[in-house]
Symmetry: none
Subunit: 142 residues, 2 copies
Amino acid sequence: MFLGRFAHALDAKGRLAVPARFREALAEGVVLTRGIDRCLSLYPMAAWRPLAEKVSALPITDPDARNFRRMVFAEATDLDLDGQGRILVPPELRRYAGLEREALVVGMDTAIEIWSPERWQAVEEVMEADGAEIAQRLASLI
Amino acid sequence: MFLGRFAHALDAKGRLAVPARFREALAEGVVLTRGIDRCLSLYPMAAWRPLAEKVSALPITDPDARNFRRMVFAEATDLDLDGQGRILVPPELRRYAGLEREALVVGMDTAIEIWSPERWQAVEEVMEADGAEIAQRLASLI
DNA sequence: CCACTTGTCCCCACTTTTCCCCACCGTTGT
DNA sequence: ACAACGGTGGGGAAAAGTGGGGACAAGTGG
Protein backbone atom coordinates (compact mmCIF):
# COMPACT_ATOMS: atom_id res chain seq x y z
CA MET A 1 0.00 0.00 0.00
CA PHE A 2 1.68 3.17 -1.23
CA LEU A 3 0.74 6.45 0.40
CA GLY A 4 2.20 9.92 0.51
CA ARG A 5 4.11 12.37 -1.64
CA PHE A 6 7.89 12.72 -1.55
CA ALA A 7 10.17 15.22 -3.26
CA HIS A 8 13.42 13.63 -4.38
CA ALA A 9 16.24 14.74 -6.64
CA LEU A 10 17.17 13.11 -9.93
CA ASP A 11 20.96 13.04 -10.04
CA ALA A 12 23.10 13.67 -13.09
CA LYS A 13 22.75 10.04 -14.17
CA GLY A 14 18.98 10.09 -14.01
CA ARG A 15 18.66 8.07 -10.83
CA LEU A 16 15.80 8.60 -8.47
CA ALA A 17 15.60 7.44 -4.87
CA VAL A 18 12.46 5.52 -3.99
CA PRO A 19 11.17 6.38 -0.51
CA ALA A 20 12.52 3.84 1.94
CA ARG A 21 9.06 2.85 3.14
CA PHE A 22 8.12 1.73 -0.40
CA ARG A 23 11.14 -0.45 -1.00
CA GLU A 24 10.06 -3.64 0.64
CA ALA A 25 7.06 -3.95 -1.67
CA LEU A 26 9.30 -3.41 -4.70
CA ALA A 27 12.00 -5.91 -3.91
CA GLU A 28 10.73 -8.43 -6.50
CA GLY A 29 11.34 -5.95 -9.31
CA VAL A 30 9.33 -3.12 -10.78
CA VAL A 31 8.06 -1.92 -14.14
CA LEU A 32 8.34 1.74 -14.99
CA THR A 33 6.20 3.07 -17.82
CA ARG A 34 4.36 6.04 -19.23
CA GLY A 35 1.39 7.01 -17.18
CA ILE A 36 -1.62 8.95 -18.37
CA ASP A 37 -1.45 12.76 -18.04
CA ARG A 38 2.30 12.91 -18.61
CA CYS A 39 3.43 11.32 -15.40
CA LEU A 40 5.28 8.02 -14.99
CA SER A 41 3.80 4.92 -13.36
CA LEU A 42 5.82 2.49 -11.32
CA TYR A 43 4.28 -0.93 -10.71
CA PRO A 44 5.45 -3.67 -8.41
CA MET A 45 5.98 -6.76 -10.55
CA ALA A 46 3.05 -8.53 -8.97
CA ALA A 47 0.72 -5.73 -10.02
CA TRP A 48 2.17 -5.44 -13.53
CA ARG A 49 1.72 -9.06 -14.61
CA PRO A 50 -2.08 -9.18 -14.70
CA LEU A 51 -2.14 -5.83 -16.46
CA ALA A 52 0.33 -6.98 -19.11
CA GLU A 53 -1.59 -10.18 -19.68
CA LYS A 54 -4.77 -8.30 -20.35
CA VAL A 55 -3.06 -6.12 -22.92
CA SER A 56 -1.37 -9.12 -24.53
CA ALA A 57 -4.73 -10.81 -24.89
CA LEU A 58 -6.14 -8.05 -27.11
CA PRO A 59 -7.05 -9.38 -30.56
CA ILE A 60 -4.06 -9.30 -32.91
CA THR A 61 -6.46 -8.78 -35.80
CA ASP A 62 -7.37 -5.26 -34.65
CA PRO A 63 -4.89 -2.62 -35.92
CA ASP A 64 -5.61 -0.23 -33.08
CA ALA A 65 -5.05 -2.98 -30.57
CA ARG A 66 -1.69 -3.79 -32.13
CA ASN A 67 -0.58 -0.19 -31.88
CA PHE A 68 -1.87 0.13 -28.37
CA ARG A 69 0.16 -2.88 -27.31
CA ARG A 70 3.20 -1.37 -28.93
CA MET A 71 2.88 1.82 -26.95
CA VAL A 72 2.33 0.03 -23.67
CA PHE A 73 5.24 -2.39 -23.95
CA ALA A 74 7.74 -0.36 -25.94
CA GLU A 75 7.87 2.43 -23.39
CA ALA A 76 7.96 0.16 -20.36
CA THR A 77 11.15 -0.92 -18.61
CA ASP A 78 11.66 -3.59 -16.04
CA LEU A 79 14.10 -2.56 -13.36
CA ASP A 80 15.49 -3.52 -10.03
CA LEU A 81 16.29 -1.07 -7.29
CA ASP A 82 20.03 -0.53 -6.90
CA GLY A 83 21.85 -1.05 -3.61
CA GLN A 84 20.73 2.38 -2.45
CA GLY A 85 17.08 1.82 -3.30
CA ARG A 86 17.10 3.95 -6.44
CA ILE A 87 15.72 3.38 -9.93
CA LEU A 88 17.31 4.59 -13.15
CA VAL A 89 14.79 6.58 -15.18
CA PRO A 90 15.53 6.21 -18.92
CA PRO A 91 16.04 9.51 -20.79
CA GLU A 92 12.99 8.93 -22.99
CA LEU A 93 10.70 8.64 -19.97
CA ARG A 94 12.36 11.59 -18.29
CA ARG A 95 11.54 13.67 -21.32
CA TYR A 96 7.97 12.40 -21.51
CA ALA A 97 7.25 13.42 -17.93
CA GLY A 98 9.25 16.66 -18.11
CA LEU A 99 11.56 15.61 -15.28
CA GLU A 100 14.69 17.65 -14.70
CA ARG A 101 16.34 18.17 -11.38
CA GLU A 102 13.46 17.39 -9.08
CA ALA A 103 10.69 14.80 -9.05
CA LEU A 104 7.70 13.96 -6.87
CA VAL A 105 7.18 10.36 -5.94
CA VAL A 106 3.52 9.85 -5.17
CA GLY A 107 1.95 6.81 -3.56
CA MET A 108 -1.25 5.69 -5.31
CA ASP A 109 -2.20 2.71 -3.17
CA THR A 110 -1.45 -0.10 -5.63
CA ALA A 111 1.16 1.72 -7.73
CA ILE A 112 3.42 4.75 -7.63
CA GLU A 113 3.39 7.84 -9.82
CA ILE A 114 6.32 10.11 -10.60
CA TRP A 115 5.64 13.75 -11.46
CA SER A 116 7.51 16.85 -12.41
CA PRO A 117 6.73 19.50 -9.76
CA GLU A 118 5.24 21.84 -12.38
CA ARG A 119 2.78 19.33 -13.73
CA TRP A 120 1.83 18.19 -10.28
CA GLN A 121 1.03 21.71 -9.27
CA ALA A 122 -1.27 22.07 -12.24
CA VAL A 123 -3.15 18.98 -11.09
CA GLU A 124 -3.37 20.32 -7.56
CA GLU A 125 -4.76 23.61 -8.73
CA VAL A 126 -7.49 21.88 -10.68
CA MET A 127 -8.45 19.81 -7.68
CA GLU A 128 -8.36 22.79 -5.40
CA ALA A 129 -10.62 24.78 -7.65
CA ASP A 130 -13.05 22.10 -8.81
CA GLY A 131 -12.51 19.28 -6.38
CA ALA A 132 -15.98 19.35 -4.95
CA GLU A 133 -17.63 19.22 -8.35
CA ILE A 134 -15.36 16.48 -9.55
CA ALA A 135 -16.10 14.41 -6.50
CA GLN A 136 -19.78 14.84 -7.10
CA ARG A 137 -19.51 13.73 -10.69
CA LEU A 138 -17.64 10.60 -9.61
CA ALA A 139 -20.17 9.71 -6.96
CA SER A 140 -22.03 7.47 -9.36
CA LEU A 141 -18.89 5.43 -10.04
CA ILE A 142 -18.17 4.52 -6.46
CA MET B 1 8.87 -10.83 -20.64
CA PHE B 2 10.18 -8.44 -23.29
CA LEU B 3 9.88 -4.74 -22.55
CA GLY B 4 11.44 -1.57 -23.89
CA ARG B 5 12.65 -0.08 -27.14
CA PHE B 6 16.29 -0.22 -28.21
CA ALA B 7 18.01 1.44 -31.16
CA HIS B 8 20.71 -0.79 -32.59
CA ALA B 9 22.76 -0.67 -35.77
CA LEU B 10 22.62 -3.22 -38.55
CA ASP B 11 26.21 -3.72 -39.64
CA ALA B 12 27.39 -4.18 -43.22
CA LYS B 13 26.70 -7.91 -43.00
CA GLY B 14 23.13 -7.45 -41.89
CA ARG B 15 23.70 -8.48 -38.31
CA LEU B 16 21.63 -7.01 -35.51
CA ALA B 17 22.48 -7.09 -31.82
CA VAL B 18 19.68 -8.32 -29.58
CA PRO B 19 19.54 -6.36 -26.31
CA ALA B 20 21.43 -8.26 -23.65
CA ARG B 21 18.44 -8.42 -21.33
CA PHE B 22 16.47 -10.39 -23.95
CA ARG B 23 19.10 -13.00 -24.67
CA GLU B 24 18.48 -15.42 -21.89
CA ALA B 25 14.92 -16.01 -23.07
CA LEU B 26 16.18 -16.63 -26.62
CA ALA B 27 18.93 -19.12 -25.85
CA GLU B 28 16.84 -22.07 -27.09
CA GLY B 29 16.66 -20.58 -30.57
CA VAL B 30 14.39 -18.08 -32.28
CA VAL B 31 12.20 -17.73 -35.33
CA LEU B 32 12.32 -14.51 -37.33
CA THR B 33 9.48 -13.79 -39.71
CA ARG B 34 7.37 -11.12 -41.33
CA GLY B 35 5.22 -9.27 -38.87
CA ILE B 36 2.03 -7.41 -39.55
CA ASP B 37 2.34 -3.70 -40.43
CA ARG B 38 5.71 -4.12 -42.16
CA CYS B 39 7.78 -4.92 -39.16
CA LEU B 40 9.59 -8.17 -38.34
CA SER B 41 8.59 -10.49 -35.51
CA LEU B 42 11.08 -12.45 -33.49
CA TYR B 43 9.71 -15.33 -31.42
CA PRO B 44 11.44 -17.44 -28.83
CA MET B 45 11.15 -21.04 -29.99
CA ALA B 46 8.83 -21.87 -27.12
CA ALA B 47 6.39 -19.17 -28.23
CA TRP B 48 6.67 -20.02 -31.91
CA ARG B 49 5.52 -23.62 -31.68
CA PRO B 50 1.94 -23.01 -30.53
CA LEU B 51 1.61 -20.12 -32.97
CA ALA B 52 2.78 -22.24 -35.90
CA GLU B 53 0.32 -24.92 -34.96
CA LYS B 54 -2.54 -22.46 -34.98
CA VAL B 55 -1.62 -21.20 -38.42
CA SER B 56 -1.20 -24.74 -39.69
CA ALA B 57 -4.65 -25.56 -38.46
CA LEU B 58 -6.29 -22.88 -40.60
CA PRO B 59 -8.72 -24.42 -43.10
CA ILE B 60 -6.93 -25.31 -46.32
CA THR B 61 -10.16 -24.59 -48.17
CA ASP B 62 -9.97 -20.87 -47.51
CA PRO B 63 -7.86 -18.94 -50.09
CA ASP B 64 -6.96 -16.19 -47.62
CA ALA B 65 -5.84 -18.74 -45.11
CA ARG B 66 -3.65 -20.44 -47.70
CA ASN B 67 -1.96 -17.18 -48.60
CA PHE B 68 -1.55 -16.17 -45.00
CA ARG B 69 0.10 -19.47 -44.29
CA ARG B 70 2.49 -19.00 -47.19
CA MET B 71 3.42 -15.55 -46.04
CA VAL B 72 4.12 -16.68 -42.50
CA PHE B 73 6.14 -19.80 -43.23
CA ALA B 74 7.89 -19.00 -46.51
CA GLU B 75 9.77 -16.05 -45.09
CA ALA B 76 10.35 -17.45 -41.65
CA THR B 77 13.86 -18.40 -40.58
CA ASP B 78 14.99 -20.28 -37.55
CA LEU B 79 18.17 -18.87 -36.14
CA ASP B 80 20.49 -18.96 -33.20
CA LEU B 81 22.18 -15.97 -31.68
CA ASP B 82 25.88 -15.78 -32.49
CA GLY B 83 28.55 -15.54 -29.82
CA GLN B 84 27.94 -11.82 -29.47
CA GLY B 85 24.17 -12.18 -29.11
CA ARG B 86 23.35 -11.06 -32.65
CA ILE B 87 21.00 -12.40 -35.29
CA LEU B 88 21.56 -12.30 -39.04
CA VAL B 89 18.60 -10.68 -40.78
CA PRO B 90 18.12 -12.15 -44.27
CA PRO B 91 18.12 -9.55 -47.09
CA GLU B 92 14.54 -10.37 -48.07
CA LEU B 93 13.26 -9.58 -44.58
CA ARG B 94 15.42 -6.49 -44.39
CA ARG B 95 13.76 -5.23 -47.52
CA TYR B 96 10.27 -6.09 -46.30
CA ALA B 97 10.73 -4.04 -43.14
CA GLY B 98 12.68 -1.24 -44.83
CA LEU B 99 15.71 -1.70 -42.63
CA GLU B 100 18.91 0.06 -43.57
CA ARG B 101 21.53 1.31 -41.17
CA GLU B 102 19.45 1.51 -38.02
CA ALA B 103 16.76 -0.66 -36.47
CA LEU B 104 14.54 -0.51 -33.41
CA VAL B 105 14.24 -3.65 -31.35
CA VAL B 106 10.95 -3.48 -29.46
CA GLY B 107 9.81 -5.71 -26.64
CA MET B 108 6.18 -6.84 -26.95
CA ASP B 109 5.86 -8.91 -23.78
CA THR B 110 5.76 -12.36 -25.38
CA ALA B 111 7.66 -11.59 -28.59
CA ILE B 112 9.95 -8.97 -30.11
CA GLU B 113 9.34 -6.68 -33.05
CA ILE B 114 11.97 -5.07 -35.28
CA TRP B 115 11.19 -1.76 -36.95
CA SER B 116 12.74 0.77 -39.24
CA PRO B 117 12.86 4.09 -37.38
CA GLU B 118 10.72 5.79 -40.02
CA ARG B 119 7.89 3.30 -39.83
CA TRP B 120 7.97 3.26 -36.06
CA GLN B 121 7.65 7.00 -35.95
CA ALA B 122 4.56 6.79 -38.08
CA VAL B 123 3.00 4.46 -35.52
CA GLU B 124 3.98 6.81 -32.73
CA GLU B 125 2.39 9.75 -34.48
CA VAL B 126 -0.88 7.90 -34.92
CA MET B 127 -0.93 7.03 -31.26
CA GLU B 128 -0.04 10.53 -30.20
CA ALA B 129 -2.93 11.89 -32.22
CA ASP B 130 -5.59 9.28 -31.48
CA GLY B 131 -4.16 7.38 -28.56
CA ALA B 132 -6.66 8.58 -26.01
CA GLU B 133 -9.65 7.58 -28.14
CA ILE B 134 -8.15 4.24 -29.00
CA ALA B 135 -7.41 3.50 -25.39
CA GLN B 136 -10.96 4.33 -24.46
CA ARG B 137 -12.38 2.12 -27.18
CA LEU B 138 -10.16 -0.79 -26.16
CA ALA B 139 -11.03 -0.36 -22.52
CA SER B 140 -14.24 -2.22 -23.20
CA LEU B 141 -12.25 -5.24 -24.40
CA ILE B 142 -10.08 -5.42 -21.32
C1' DC C 1 35.26 -34.23 -60.62
C1' DC C 2 37.71 -30.23 -59.60
C1' DA C 3 38.41 -25.19 -59.26
C1' DC C 4 36.42 -21.01 -58.18
C1' DT C 5 33.23 -17.84 -56.33
C1' DT C 6 29.97 -16.55 -52.91
C1' DG C 7 28.12 -16.28 -48.69
C1' DT C 8 28.06 -17.69 -43.77
C1' DC C 9 29.91 -18.12 -39.38
C1' DC C 10 33.19 -17.76 -35.79
C1' DC C 11 36.48 -15.20 -33.38
C1' DC C 12 38.97 -11.20 -31.77
C1' DA C 13 39.53 -6.25 -30.65
C1' DC C 14 37.93 -1.69 -29.67
C1' DT C 15 34.72 1.77 -27.76
C1' DT C 16 31.00 3.16 -25.10
C1' DT C 17 27.72 2.64 -21.70
C1' DT C 18 25.95 0.69 -17.63
C1' DC C 19 25.86 -0.57 -13.11
C1' DC C 20 27.92 -1.60 -8.83
C1' DC C 21 30.19 0.01 -4.91
C1' DC C 22 31.91 3.30 -1.66
C1' DA C 23 31.86 7.73 0.62
C1' DC C 24 29.68 11.92 2.10
C1' DC C 25 26.01 14.74 4.12
C1' DG C 26 21.85 16.06 6.17
C1' DT C 27 17.96 14.82 9.04
C1' DT C 28 15.58 12.33 12.53
C1' DG C 29 14.94 10.23 16.59
C1' DT C 30 16.90 8.78 21.00
C1' DA D 1 24.78 15.46 21.34
C1' DC D 2 25.26 11.40 19.10
C1' DA D 3 24.01 7.49 16.43
C1' DA D 4 21.51 5.60 12.76
C1' DC D 5 19.09 5.92 8.75
C1' DG D 6 17.85 7.90 4.33
C1' DG D 7 19.20 10.53 0.37
C1' DT D 8 22.89 12.22 -2.88
C1' DG D 9 27.03 12.09 -5.61
C1' DG D 10 30.82 10.19 -8.18
C1' DG D 11 34.69 6.84 -9.60
C1' DG D 12 35.95 2.46 -11.48
C1' DA D 13 35.21 -2.21 -13.12
C1' DA D 14 32.59 -5.02 -16.04
C1' DA D 15 29.56 -5.81 -19.73
C1' DA D 16 27.32 -4.54 -24.01
C1' DG D 17 27.46 -2.86 -28.78
C1' DT D 18 30.07 -2.45 -32.97
C1' DG D 19 33.23 -3.52 -36.61
C1' DG D 20 36.25 -6.33 -39.30
C1' DG D 21 39.45 -10.34 -40.58
C1' DG D 22 39.88 -15.00 -41.72
C1' DA D 23 38.29 -19.95 -41.99
C1' DC D 24 34.92 -22.94 -43.59
C1' DA D 25 31.03 -24.65 -46.34
C1' DA D 26 27.97 -24.50 -50.05
C1' DG D 27 26.71 -23.60 -54.62
C1' DT D 28 28.19 -22.85 -59.57
C1' DG D 29 30.50 -23.45 -63.76
C1' DG D 30 34.07 -25.47 -66.46
